[in-house]
Amino acid sequence: MCAKKMTYRDALKEAISEAMRNDSRVFLMGEDVARYGGTYAVTKGLAKEFGEDRIRDTPLSESAFTGAGIGAALGGMRPIVEIMTVNFSLLALDQIINNAATIRHMSGGQFRIPLVIRMATGSGKQLAAQHSHSLEVMYAHVPGLKVICPATVEDARGMLQAALDDPNPVIMFEHVSLYNMSDEIEDNTKVDLKSAKIRRSGEDITLITFGGSLHKTLQAAEELAAQNIDCEVLDLRSLRPLDHDAILASIRKTHRAVVIEEGWRSFGVAAEIMALVMEKAFYELDAPIARACGVEVPIPYAKHLEDASVPQVPDIVAKVQEVLNSDV
């Protein structure tokens, strides 16, 4: 095995190009993926290798090209659809929920829809309320879909590979803050689409998060370590299916938790984690689980307001301290 350093962006690109080389049924389409090189440059250069048939620029018509991805999957292809950001994916939500997620079951299992839909998510670039939201939870709610949020370079490649090997529609969220992140990764690492992963082992409290918030959470854990608070950091990686076992195992170990996410607080991802733990490990808790989530506001442009809209390292630190102080 040999390791190499690459960015999150390049890890995605590697997974895509590898799959395209190995399987002629794989192709990618979306707005400005070919000639422009991809809004976040993930597909830059790929049209040159694979041609504009397989790296296919689409018109601005999210509903139709996402639906065409579903149709192409029904027709035996293995499409990757790139939607620029989750905000625009609302235009395609009818296709994703009413078609991609239902056709297999509704037809009595006759069809399969091996489709990967990739989209950017999250805030941090001062793009304001129509470009900055984190709507992962809406997708996580829907049976028939798989929903993944790779947060590391290794997972960007590995989870996209696994998604391309999966016979179901997989929605993949790429937090905009991650594309430039780089890391050394091994060749031939395999990731599945259902296992959460402990990113830092600890004894005092579990910090549960995913996607763009992982790195802030790890940083908070570092700061807390300096205060002799030993955090375990659990990266969910997949929201659907949700890795119940991993969550419960960590709770049984630390007996306390904070959930961190960028999405709006009410009816968000954190609520499900808290509900799950209440159902399955209530008596293991030494304190109520707390959540550090997005403020319930359309994310504003101004930097200080944008920053205040989503949990930052000090917010996470403060929440952890609060939970530890609330111990009975």
Partner: protein, 328 residues
């Protein structure tokens, strides 16, 4: 509907076409009865009056061609050769149904027959047809995908996006608009600022033609031209079949929005009476032959009811089966 055209087809073929239309009509009538008897539930949309379209188009499609339609799709399924038993069982909600009882009247599917479903989101299946066409094109298959939809669907954004995509990418999709002049209770002139639907299709540079959908011979002729055109030019095609639905929109509709007289006028122009008259003039059809057909149809329908009655309920323990596809 002229004798000249008639002579292009054999007596045998014509009788078969007549039989198929009659078979659909009787099936629909029986379905209505069974609905009143509480055997069929949910929404039931009947095809009475529009039979020439399904029968005519299916006659011209080749086995390798795909099709997809709306919730008003019994006729298409029957004309394509989906077994009547499995359709009836589906409407009974039995596991022997063509969608295992999960879809009901609005969601017939048959993978073997390349039937990608009855879809109940108006306009929602047009992107799927585009995707099926894309898959065929990318895999160099000589296949046409026929996509049936109503006049109402033309107003939806997905019509616009789908026609543009199909034309832009030169996909082998046959768009079949069944223009029965009403979308539920809304007359086309109150739905479309431009009621000439071909003018609409042309604005995407899609070749289009309006056809008397009550004349099965024209339906077939124009469908053949369309398939030839699609195959030769690798381009989509738009057929507007003008027709009329003789019955209410669904079993819940009190038909407050149209005149009984209007319905009666259209009934005189119905596809079955007109074809019957022509065949009788030609001395290809007589009362005895019709009687024989009626008997055969009644027997088949009866058998389908018995099949459905004797069918089984899917065990509740299978409820979540096929939400996901387990193996690749």
């Amino acid at each position: 509907m002229s004798k000249d055209t008639l002579e292009k087809f054999s007596q045998e073929k014509c009788l078969k076409l007549f039989y198929e239309m009659l078979r659909i009509r009787r099936f629909e009538e029986k379905s209505a009865e069974l609905y009143s008897a509480g055997k069929i539930r949910g929404f039931l949309h009947l095809y009475n009056g529009e039979e020439a379209i399904a029968v005519g188009v299916m006659e011209m499609l080749r086995d390798e061609d795909s099709f997809i339609g709306t919730y008003r799709e019994h006729g298409h399924a029957l004309a394509r050769g989906v077994s009547m038993k499995s359709i009836m069982a589906e409407m009974y909600g039995k596991v022997e149904g063509c969608s295992r009882g999960r879809g009901g009247s609005m969601h017939l599917y048959d993978k073997e027959k390349k039937f990608y479903g009855g879809n109940a989101i108006v306009g929602g299946h047009l992107p799927l047809a585009v995707g099926l066409g894309l898959a065929d094109k990318m895999q160099n298959r000589d296949v046409v995908t026929a996509c049936f939809f109503g006049d109402g669907a033309v107003a939806e954004g997905e019509f616009h996006e789908s026609l543009n995509l199909a034309a832009l990418w030169k996909l082998p999709v046959l768009f079949v608009c069944e223009n029965n002049f009403y979308a539920m209770g809304t007359q086309i002139s109150r739905e479309e600022s431009q009621v000439d639907l071909c003018a609409k299709a042309s604005s995407y540079n899609v070749k289009s033609v309006a056809v008397d959908g009550m004349d099965i011979l024209s339906v077939m002729e124009e469908t053949q031209k369309a398939i030839d055109y699609i195959t030769k030019n690798e381009s989509p095609y738009f057929l507007e079949f003008q027709t009329y639905r003789f019955r209410a929109h669904s079993m819940f509709d009190a038909e407050l929005y149209r005149d009984k007289k209007e319905v009666e006028e259209w009934k005189k122009k119905g596809p079955i009476v007109r074809f019957k008259k022509l065949l009788e003039e030609q001395k290809w059809l007589d009362e005895a032959k019709i009687k024989e057909m009626e008997k055969k149809i009644a027997t088949e329908i009866q058998a389908s009811i018995e099949f459905a009655e004797n069918g089984h309920w899917e065990p509740i323990s299978h409820l979540t089966k096929d939400v996901y596809c387990e193996e690749m």
